[in-house]
């Protein structure tokens, strides 16, 4: 581990480190996306990489999500390892045909003769008054599709370690960042510290209720955990980190011990991540649960623009506190 891993690094810079290290390590890796080269990326994740690796490997594209995603899928089929940045998840909708019908299907439909080692990075999430079209959390859209791997890092360390794993993975990986996390600082691993897919992490140990949260919601859950601890309630906060593959064993193991689960998900409640996880847990833990699984989601509405309504729509720590207390049968203090 190099010495600079000790000092806190912002989430966006952790991603930058991963990209830089992988560009340096493997000449087949290249980046493409809107404004990622000359402008350093809309969220400055690719800062300095054009200067360091040149325009052949850090490529600005036109505003054509379906076009450059398809181009990258073709390059991946031909043996390169493209890392696509889509400015936000909201624009990935334009590339869904390429992602769902090509990236996710080609390995399967060609009998394994061809792989698609592509990473498609994009931030999701709301909270910045970007209104309905630009504040969405669409993790479930991708997690729904067999053939994709879906990764949602919540910390700088995970952002770096999981992105490096994604780039080295031979399958298409949807790598969903969060706009609210880019400035989050924390320690990161070194050039050789990869974090494997399919390993959930216990962010906080507790015995009374399992709280499952990913991406920015991990921090919401941890804040709620602090408030609950002040009331004598110790929750166990678990971050699945990846949804394909999913580490159900860790989630179910915790729920079987606590007998209670609350899922915190910035996505919508209907047919989404929280609904899917709840189903898994009902199936795996039916005889161990002491209450219906609780869920805290984004309100089932298009995201409001008004700041107060936006905050009301997004899951807040107080919502998690209330959900946990209701789940374990305690009133709200």
């Amino acid at each position: 581990m190099s010495t600079d891993t000790a000092k806190p690094v912002a989430y966006r810079d952790a991603l930058n480190q991963a990209l830089r290290e992988e560009l340096a390590r493997d000449p087949d890796v290249f980046l493409l996306g809107e404004d990622i080269a000359g402008f350093d990326g809309a969220f400055k994740v690719t800062r300095g990489l054009l200067q360091e690796f040149g325009p052949q490997r850090v490529v600005d594209t036109p505003i054509t999500e379906a076009g450059f995603t398809g181009l990258a899928i073709g390059a991946a089929m031909a043996g390169l390892r493209p890392v696509v940045e889509i400015m936000t998840v909201n624009f990935a909708i334009l590339a869904m045909d390429q992602i769902v019908n090509n990236a996710a299907k080609i390995h399967y439909m060609f009998g394994g003769q061809v792989s698609v080692p592509i990473v498609i990075r994009m931030p999701g999430g709301g909270g910045h008054q970007l209104s309905s079209q630009h504040s969405q959390t669409l993790d479930a859209w991708f997690a729904h599709v067999p053939g994709l791997k879906v990764v949602c890092p919540s910390t700088p360390e995970d952002a770096k370690g999981l992105l490096k794993t994604a780039i080295r993975d031979d399958d298409p990986v949807i790598f969903i960042e969060n706009e609210g996390l880019y400035g989050k600082k924390g320690p990161v691993g070194g050039p050789d510290d990869l974090i494997p897919f399919g390993q959930a992490v216990v962010r906080r140990a507790g015995t009374h209720c399992t709280v499952i949260a990913h991406s920015r919601m991990v921090w919401v859950a941890l804040q709620a955990a602090e408030e609950l601890a002040a009331q004598g309630v110790e929750v166990e906060v678990i971050d699945p980190r990846t949804f394909r593959p999913l580490d159900l064993d860790t989630l179910a193991g915790s729920v079987r011990r606590t007998g209670h689960a609350v899922i915190v998900d910035e996505g919508w409640p209907e047919y989404g991540i929280s609904a899917g996880l709840a189903t898994h847990l009902y199936e795996a833990c039916f005889d161990w649960i002491d209450a219906p699984i609780g869920r805290v989601n984004c309100a089932d509405v298009p995201m409001p623009y008004a700041k107060n309504l936006e905050q009301a729509a997004l899951p807040q720590p107080a919502d998690v506190v209330a959900a946990v207390l209701a789940n374990i049968g305690r009133g709200i203090a």
């Binding site: 992490v201 906080r204 079987r256 005889d287 002491d290 219906p292 609780g294 309100a299 374990i328």
Partner: protein, 464 residues
């Protein structure tokens, strides 16, 4: 016409017996009123009227019916239906359906619950109110109260623990949302302490703390092993087949343990039954088959006559009082599948031998069928138990507390006996009288047993 069906009152219940209709056929009943007592394999429970109306009974007292069989209808005075929904239908009584109700998901047959409207409506999460609708489903304000006699709202974990412990959930009070029985309630019931209202109980000691990766640590966390031990620790018991005690077996277990506290002693006496055997043979000529007495029926008669003569033999201890019960009611131990019951021949001293014979036959048959009512197994002053038919010569019985005495009857068999200086072959039977020494003393007990023997050795005396 809303029908009531035999409800599924426990997970294992397959059939139930109508013990007693609290309301009579044609009575006007109100929703929630106690309507009928139903006995299951585990317990006797009272089922409430699911609706207002006039009761029309289908299943008679003593009937044993499969779960889901119709037991009554409730209509208005003219016989027209009063409700829009059938009540306590088999599907509704199913535990899974119960859970659905508890979580606020209406089921097709839930119309009578009425209190859950809107619970299934999708709503914005999280709402500006502090609680999101998904968890609102667990709040008491939304979930229907779990008070209906046919529903037991319990969490899967609570059901699991109760099933392993052989605990009847109908005996547990739920403190969870909407009255749901949750883990703490089952644990409280098993420990005998009321559930703490304020939860956040520490998890069982078996739950090892998970390895935690602080945010930013380099090493991924060791996943918690997926294979969890069963929720109820079993201690060091050997592996084997496990069966929860039936309600009957639980009662026997408790009563036998109580009886063991009684300081008792036992007297034995051989009885010459040669004449008794001859009398029984003669009675075969006179009586129809169902009234022909067994040796045991003759013993019951002899005991009843002897108690009538010496009522103090039936006196029992009640605090600082001695109570001599009115009436000479004699309990007769009957073996039933998976246990033992003691139906009672009431006023046995007033009944003839053929009457006792017929009554004991009927009680035993219905006892084995599980259709005896509780009052047919209550009130005995003294009991008789007999293992002669199994070839047992003599044995000491456990007193059927709070009775003061029990007579254990061995087999009647030919033995060599010294009579007038000669060894002769006679039929002999050994009686063993066990008594509560707090109430009955040696001489009294010996006199009583001697009188019983005397009556049995002169069987014509039993027929007067």
């Amino acid at each position: 016409m809303p029908e009531m069906f035999m409800p599924k009152l426990s997970d294992t219940m397959e059939e139930g017996t109508i013990l007693r209709w609290i309301k009579a056929d044609g009575d006007q009943v109100a929703k929630g009123e106690p309507l009928v007592e139903i006995e299951t394999d585990k317990a006797t429970m009272t089922v409430e009227a699911p609706d207002d109306g006039v009761l029309s009974i289908i299943a008679e007292e003593g009937d044993t019916l499969d779960v889901g069989a119709p037991i009554a209808t409730i209509g208005d005075a003219a016989g027209a239906p009063t409700g829009v929904q059938s009540v306590a239908s088999p599907g509704e009584a199913d535990p899974i359906a119960t859970d659905e109700v508890a979580t606020g998901i209406p089921t097709a047959s839930d119309g009578t619950a009425g209190t859950i409207s809107g619970a299934g409506t999708p709503a914005i999460t999280p709402s500006p109110a502090p609680m999101a609708p998904q968890h609102a489903a667990t709040s008491p304000a939304v979930a229907p109260p779990a008070t209906s006699g046919t529903r037991i709202a319990a969490s899967p974990l609570a059901r699991n623990i109760a099933a392993h412990a052989g605990l009847d959930l109908s005996t547990v009070t739920g403190t969870g949302p909407g009255g749901r029985i949750v883990k703490r309630d089952v644990e409280a019931a098993l420990s005998g302490n009321p559930a703490a209202e304020d939860v956040a109980q520490p998890a069982p000691a078996a739950a090892a703390p998970p390895v935690v990766a602080p945010l930013g640590s380099a090493a991924p966390v060791q996943p918690v092993p997926p294979k969890m031990p069963p929720p109820v620790p079993r201690g060091d018991w050997p592996a084997g087949r496990r069966t929860p005690l039936t309600h009957l077996q639980q009662v026997i277990s408790r009563r036998m343990t109580e009886a063991h506290q009684v300081p008792d002693f036992t007297l034995e006496r051989d009885v010459d039954t040669t004449a008794l055997a001859a009398a029984r043979a003669d009675l075969r000529v006179a009586l129809p088959e169902d009234q022909r007495p067994s040796v045991n029926d003759m013993v019951v008669r002899a005991v009843a006559m002897a108690v009538r003569e010496r009522p103090d033999m039936a006196s029992r201890l009640d605090g600082d009082d001695l109570l001599v019960p009115d009436g000479v009611h004699v309990g007769v131990a009957v073996s039933v599948p998976g246990g033992l019951i003691v139906p009672v021949v009431r006023d046995a001293d007033q009944k003839t031998v053929p009457q006792i014979a017929a009554e004991v036959r009927d009680l035993a048959r219905r006892g084995r069928a599980g259709t005896l009512r509780p009052n047919e197994m209550e009130g005995s002053a003294i009991s008789v138990t007999n293992l002669g038919m199994f070839g047992i010569d003599r044995f000491h019985a456990v007193i059927n507390a709070p009775e003061p005495a029990i007579l254990a009857v061995g087999r009647s068999v030919e033995r060599p006996v010294v009579l007038d200086g000669h060894v002769v072959v006679r039929e002999v039977m050994t009686l063993s009288l066990s008594v509560d020494h707090r109430v009955i003393y040696g001489a009294e007990a010996a006199t009583f047993l001697g009188r019983v023997a005397e009556l049995l050795e002169h069987p014509a005396a039993l027929l007067v």
